[in-house]
Symmetry: C2
Subunit: 313 residues, 2 copies
């Protein structure tokens, strides 16, 4: 079994992860890399696999070799929900980050087999008590929710694209999720509030009882009925490729909650520590490389360091 961060609970739950699987070409100020394993489901699953048993749902194409499946399997990820579509290649994205990484351009995008993807759950996944709806079309995220049996704790992520072209579907979706994770510019776009505190409060009124607004290098803020919590980012000094940072954050966050089998305010704060540290590993190398290879000890060391960074004594 893949090594995991130890849980305090004897009743850890498996985590259902749904999202895209992709091959990415990424250009950064530090170089260029082609045919990187990517997509929200990959990053989310790798990150969550350090905490919980992961059930992964996504679609791969006829160019998706066993070596990539083996990488996922080696982290203990259950691939029963990964559909192979032989009619075409895997979803492809090519992007370029500019100096300081504060802007990225999409240079090419080919949906390929992802265009016809319907996230149908295997029977064995339908009882999942913890669910991560990675960034895909909000109607597909809703389709996943409709297949769940029993009550689940659901985290949804999104991107600006869906706010721009599928706002109503997204608004319908977030009424049904427990925890909505969104970045600061998207939160502003969705709420019309340019003050992040007001935006977070407004998002909670739109449905999800818990909201986390991510601010990249400036950390993240949690909005919860029991209060707010602000956490700085892990102090990364070797940023190499920010792709997948948000997915890694979401995956580790709900992975930790699933392993602890808790969703209370303090549990979410603690999970944010792990999520921040896990995402900090992702951005230090191209693609999933550092995330996959980091190991439990690297995460634990960073968590200790992050706790020190926010400690008053």
């Amino acid at each position: 079994m893949a090594e995991r961060i130890q849980s305090d609970s004897s009743e850890s739950s498996p985590l259902l992860v749904v999202g895209s699987v992709a091959f990415d070409n990424v250009i950064t100020p530090y170089g260029e890399k082609e045919h990187i394993l990517g997509g929200a489901a990959s990053y989310c699953s790798f990150a969550a696999s350090y905490y919980a048993a992961v059930r992964m749902v996504g679609v791969i194409g006829n160019d998706f070799g066993d070596e990539y499946l083996d990488r996922l399997r080696s982290r203990g990820i259950d691939l029963e929900g990964v559909q192979k579509d032989e009619t075409g290649p895997t979803f492809f994205w090519k992007g370029k980050y500019h100096e300081n990484f504060n802007r990225r351009d999409t240079l090419d995008i080919q949906l390929n087999v992802f265009e016809k993807f319907r996230p149908d759950l295997p029977e064995s996944y339908k009882d999942s008590k913890f669910v991560l709806l990675g960034n895909i079309h909000p109607a597909l995220q809703m389709h996943v929710l409709n297949q769940l049996e029993g009550s689940s704790f659901v985290l949804a992520d999104t991107i600006d694209l869906w706010i721009e072209i599928e706002k109503n579907a997204l608004l319908d979706l977030i009424k049904k999720v427990n925890l909505f994770v969104i970045n600061d510019t998207e939160a502003e776009e969705l709420t019309g509030e340019n003050n992040i505190i007001l935006a977070g409060n407004k998002l909670r009124k739109m449905g999800p009882e818990i909201v986390i607004i991510k601010k990249g290098e400036h950390g993240a803020i949690l909005f919860h009925e029991d209060g707010m919590f602000a956490l700085p980012a892990y102090p990364v000094t070797e940023l190499r490729d920010p792709t997948g940072a948000g997915d890694s954050f979401a995956g580790a966050l709900i992975g930790r909650l699933a392993s602890q089998n808790r969703t209370d305010f303090n549990a979410i704060k603690e999970a944010m520590i792990y999520a921040t540290c896990t995402a900090s590993l992702t951005v230090e190398a191209f693609g999933c490389d550092r995330l996959e290879s980091a190991g439990v000890n690297a995460i634990k060391e960073r968590s200790e360091k992050l706790l020190q960074l926010i400690s008053l004594d």
Copy 2:
């Protein structure tokens, strides 16, 4: 005596504050206000006055009425070091903030009596054990240091102007200060490092044993030989005029250190809590208005709230 936040020390020290005194015209998305009492020395002194006995050094012109001096006196600020120059009006600045407050333009600047200002210390100020060198020309800041008798703990602030036109004088100065406070874009400009962690570490190698990089709404990071400390901003929802936020932060910070008569790592962290909350009051109204009138209880309440915001349980 003006009300102060209680100190844990029986040996509080007075604080010497040096900087500009100005009248400002400020335009924001919420309106415009003319002839506001401003300048670094005013904001620093008002903020520090909630913590320590303040000795203020600056220059005022022939248009500076007693009503302004009375406002400073009513907060217990010692004005022996404030020089009145009858040959001209007080330093004047007019600026405009743009939507979201993320950019400001200087529309007018008239140095007036500030042009010939030399911060000569009254004899009674020369023994100051805590010194705040507010943002003025680094050669004038150095002139203050040269008059001090005995050892002092010195905080220096600056602005981008001096990095651009007086970089060498600024580099000479920061070799002689204990605590250097600078904002993120200025830190990048001065060090050539666009990573804030690397910039902070590099600044410490340039002289000051302690560095704080301010990130506005994203909080501040402390760099110290005993470690780093990251603090989020107080969650302000009614930003009205950011002028003087940095000065208020610096004034409250060293004011608290002077009142506690401590400069160790933990003391600086605690002072950052107060500094953040004090600055959060400043930005909720034009000029010094809210800072002056807030009172000790408002600061204490915010400090409690900020501690909650960063607490894991």
